[in-house]
Symmetry: C2
Subunit: 219 residues, 2 copies
């Protein structure tokens, strides 16, 4: 099978599917789309992804969008190791945890939102960073409360890492970007430590991507 991904080193949604692909041992090629300079708006890419976002996932010529839909699809085409539980209630819990960052915390801190804050409200770099910290901390606090109700054992749903862990780890990546200490979120921090001890997570972290190294070298 041939898998191609359009992603970006800094994109947390790209991070999520990178981890999922690596956990499943599926080889893929990642083509960078620099969403900071606006490559997602170029006609060639809009033809690939009409939403003009990353990631796009292409499997044997068939395009899919949205990291959560892509991870669910990966579980369909390569069921082992499973990233979503077989039990319906457990699967719903995994999706609930996933969506707390995918649908609530993360959408508020992506580049298009940061740019629009500057344009609409004249927000400066400091104010935009504070905005990002606010919503990232909200997401971390939500996860801390959820993990306090059901302790990781050692991962969010049990013995093996899955969809929920990938998404919580992605929320922790947001904290890394913004240098937010995890002191107030010990359960989240512990879960993330266990995730990032796994090569599939560690090697997928934005700071481990070529694009990050190139961007850092330029500054």
């Amino acid at each position: 099978m041939s898998i191609q991904v359009y992603g970006f080193w800094r994109s947390i949604a790209s991070f999520r599917i990178r981890v999922a692909l690596k956990l499943k041992g599926l080889p893929f090629e990642e083509t960078p789309i620099d969403i900071l300079v606006g490559e997602q708006f170029e006609p060639g890419y809009v033809a690939v992804n009409p939403e003009r976002v990353v990631p796009t996932f292409i499997h044997d010529g068939h395009s899919l969008f949205q990291s959560l839909a892509i991870i669910e699809y990966l579980d369909d085409i390569q069921p082992k190791p499973r990233l979503l539980p077989e039990d319906a209630k457990e699967r719903a819990y995994a999706r609930s945890l996933a969506l707390m960052t995918v649908a609530d915390a993360h959408p508020l801190v992506v580049p298009r939102v940061r740019k629009h804050l500057a344009k609409a409200f004249g927000a400066d770099a400091h104010a935009i960073e504070e905005w990002g910290k606010h919503w990232t901390i909200e997401g971390l606090a939500t996860y801390e409360r959820l993990l306090a109700r059901r302790a990781p054992a050692p991962f969010a749903l049990g013995a093996e890492p899955g969809l929920a862990d990938i998404c919580i780890a992605g929320q922790v990546v947001s904290a890394h970007f913004l240098k937010i200490p995890l002191t107030d979120f010990p359960l989240v921090a512990g879960l993330a430590d266990r995730c990032f001890a796994i090569p599939a997570f560690k090697s997928s972290h934005p700071f481990e991507q070529e694009g990050y190294k190139t961007a850092s070298a330029q500054h």
Copy 2:
């Protein structure tokens, strides 16, 4: 089976699960949590939903969160009529369409975000409305481009309404709140017309809820 929902008349996520429950003919009780006045932060509700959002779905005493996870769960416990396709690629497409509002457009216009714009940037009511219009139009435009690539026949994935249609209809509810004309989005408008001709959609619209009628009577 006993189904209880904590929702709010204005909540588009509550709208989505209301439609799903009604399409499946599942009876439910909805308890209102007024997220405009902050009832979601009261300790009694936080014990129910640690994320402090609506909706919460309770099935025989088991709580679930996040509208998309809830709709997927409904398809598990009551497979007919199916809201997600059986084919893996089609299911992924349905989820992709769903997430364009659930994970991208809608999170930017919810009350907690509008309130934080006022607090963080001193945004006034007009500026917050413009913010809402900007992101709601972005979501509508994304759907119009997607539906142009694959025309509704007559619903987003085929003959029957499903998850994608529920989510696109929810994006149109955002447009209704903000009085955004759909002139530039004819494919979306046509799809929404077909959806809202169905009682399950029509009776779930925020403007059809008791809370809306009460709120309108007060102004």
